[in-house]
Symmetry: C2
Subunit: 132 residues, 2 copies
Amino acid sequence: MNSKKKLRKAGLRATKQRIVVADILFNGQHRHFTAEDLQSEIIKIGKHMSLATIYNCLKSFRDLGVIKQVESLSETAVFDTNVEYHHHFMNEETGELIDIKPSEINLSKLPKIPEGYSQSGLDVIIKLRKNS
Amino acid sequence: MNSKKKLRKAGLRATKQRIVVADILFNGQHRHFTAEDLQSEIIKIGKHMSLATIYNCLKSFRDLGVIKQVESLSETAVFDTNVEYHHHFMNEETGELIDIKPSEINLSKLPKIPEGYSQSGLDVIIKLRKNS
DNA sequence: AAGTAGTTTAGAATGATTTTAAAGTAATTT
DNA sequence: AAATTACTTTAAAATCATTCTAAACTACTT
Ligand SMILES: [Mn+2]
Ligand SMILES: [Mn+2]
Ligand SMILES: [Zn+2]
Ligand SMILES: [Zn+2]
């Protein structure tokens, strides 16, 4: 099934722009990318698309669930007076952080570190929602 | 020891502004805050300080190691074609992400979820540096 | 007290993202 | 197939966090 059909099936209009983006993204290989990464790629294949459109498109794809947006704690810099190594609970609605002592978490199995690299940090973020 | 002495000992000039910030931050209780949070608090106690100064001050405190800046993956939105639940390696120099399958990580001990909340997500980020 | 280097600040600049509003187009209805 | 309509795209402006600039200021040294 081509991108055009998939878009229609998902309830999105099959615009030229969405088809270009879908054709680039859904080629079978997974990837991490920014809106600008995508725009560069689009320019490389001789096409043009405004950044606003790319953001619109990525957000509708994300809302559809066919891509996801990597979680970033916050758009703004957050500082912490606790300088000990520790992890965080994050209230998803408010962004509020609560400390977790490393002793409260146990990672009994860790993945193999890629060749040529070594681990320089570990962050665990447990996201919370208020009970309904 | 007062803030003035502590700043001097750390090799920073004991400016009026740094003393105000230190007096607010180092009162014994830990906290998470943004530059603007701090500015609001400063305004509340009848003082004035430019945001540029607050950023300067927080960055020098951070570089000293007396506060830390909470890690955020990236300042720009990153999208991922892998919509399955998974974790990430992150190259600290480049920001590049590599997927980690949940089966490669085992959290055998998790902290107690705060009263009235439930867990809505879990993110593990393992930071990497190239071997020297 | 004078000198010097580090610091503060208003305001401009930057970079990512969103908004505006006008023009364009996909899907639907005649 | 043309008309209709709602959704989409886009350039440009706006917004927001953060950094930069350059001039005024001030903490510490001599
Ligand atoms: Mn990128
Ligand atoms: Mn805040
Ligand atoms: Zn913390
Ligand atoms: Zn991923």
